[in-house]
């Protein structure tokens, strides 16, 4: 009877996440403790307490005021889902009715963001490149921003990780990786025929690379995806997209017909330039997502 309550108490603690006490003989060895916080905080001085309470009161008033103004605006807006919305005007008719003839894309949204409004997508791709560059500036390891304590802790944890590679993770990675990469490439290439496109396919490819890197270690990925590959892929894709689509500003914002034929709607090699632009956007998004993971966890790509 005593052993049963002990077991149930341990099960309860384990479910609550209190401690790994369900099978106590399988515990790992302890990693070294985190560094102690630097400052000891005493009671705050008086002017700081006044500032804090007035800051909280003013923040509450500002938020409640803004929400009530927005609710009143929602009350005055046209109703949701009614067909005679003022947002549905002749632009929508032009995009839907002439979309297939002029762009060759069956998916109206993909044809719109890569042909009619391609400049917005160029801006978004440059925001991605800017974000990964800023994160690299903050977090890449070099001689000037390494801390000797942190290095010791991370070296200790890296040795422990290399010895206990997780078997479940490795087996599932071997089974799932080809399927994920194939699905990501399928979503990118079929962007103009079905829902999906460059962004979603690139995110799926990036997530597949993250799974491989966390299952098999960083050194295996460095054999085929290192800093030079990253630089070459992102700059080529962004420059290619920029050159292919910004010439129209010099020609008075009118499209020149490109040499690529539009093809039969519904086939994969149709819709001219949208196919190439989809691949460019997908490559940038995939490299950026993997770059975020790698810089955060290792400090290098």
């Amino acid at each position: 009877m005593n052993k049963e309550t002990n077991f149930f108490k341990r099960l309860n603690d384990w479910v609550n996440g209190e401690a790994d006490r369900l099978f106590p003989e399988l515990q790992e060895t302890d990693t070294p403790k985190a560094p102690e916080p630097v400052a000891t905080i005493g009671p705050l001085p008086n002017k700081d307490v006044l500032f804090l309470t007035s800051y909280q009161a003013v923040a509450l008033i500002v938020v409640i005021g803004m929400v009530s103004i927005l609710l009143y605006t929602v009350y005055k807006l046209p109703l949701f889902g009614v067909a005679d919305n003022p947002a549905v005007n002749e632009v929508v008719e032009r995009y839907v009715e002439k979309g297939l003839e002029e762009t060759g894309a069956v998916n109206v949204v993909a044809g719109m963001i890569l042909d009619y409004r391609a400049f917005d997508t160029l801006g978004e791709s440059s925001v991605l490149l800017l974000a990964i560059t800023s994160v690299m500036m903050l977090l890449l390891k070099d001689e000037k921003n390494t801390d000797p304590d942190e290095e010791l802790i991370e070296a200790h944890e890296a040795v422990i990780e290399d010895h206990n590679r997780d078997m479940i993770l490795q087996t599932m990675t071997i089974i799932l990786m080809p399927a994920i990469m194939l699905y990501g490439i399928y979503v990118i290439l079929n962007g103009h025929l079905s829902p999906g496109g460059g962004f979603s396919g690139g995110a799926i490819l990036g997530a597949g690379l993250i799974l491989f890197a966390s299952g098999f270690g960083h050194n295996r990925v460095k054999k085929f995806f290192n800093m030079n590959t990253f630089r070459a892929l992102t700059t080529t894709a962004l420059l290619g997209y920029g050159i292919l689509k910004t010439y129209s500003f010099l020609l008075g914002a009118n499209h020149l017909p490109t040499g690529i034929p539009l093809g039969i709607p519904g086939a994969i090699f149709s819709s001219g330039l949208i196919f190439v632009l989809d691949i460019c956007v997908g490559l940038i998004v995939a490299c950026t997502m993997y770059g975020f993971f790698s810089v955060f966890s290792r400090g290098e790509i």
Binding site: V63, L77, E93, I113, E124, A131, L138
Partner: protein
């Protein structure tokens, strides 16, 4: 009164978007932990995308993928807000990654993620 409730249920997405915006904004301003501030910022962003994407929906029509050769604009919903939100989602994840990188660097210097303690330490260093 019944008319008021019928309108409330009809405008459900827009009202939910505005209330979530208020919730996320309040947490961005008032929480002490930096990670919870970043979660509040993300909730705010997602609620704005919900508001935008709900402006394109029309009752009874289907998704804007041309099937069976029907070119009529009366059969599909408005595709324009969908394109705007697609760009916004990727920009939102980029800004979140930048915030998290700043948090990691702040932790490396001050060894704490609590906003009040960081302000106290900065004031002590300035003296």
């Amino acid at each position: 009164m019944k008319n008021f409730f019928a309108e409330l249920i009809n405008d459900r997405f827009m009202i939910a978007a505005v209330l979530l915006f208020g919730l996320g904004f309040m947490n961005l301003l008032l929480q002490k932990n930096l990670i919870k501030k970043i979660i509040g910022f993300n909730v705010m962003d997602s609620s704005i995308f919900l508001f935008l994407a709900s402006q394109g929906y029309i009752n009874g029509r289907i998704a804007p993928i041309i099937t069976n050769g029907v070119f009529d604009a009366e059969v599909y919903i408005n595709p324009i807000p969908s394109g705007l939100v697609l760009t916004g989602i990727v920009v939102s994840v980029s800004v979140t990654a930048f915030f998290l990188a700043l948090t990691v660097r702040l932790y490396g210097i001050y060894k704490t993620v609590d906003f009040d303690e960081i302000m106290l330490l900065i004031n002590k260093e300035a003296e």
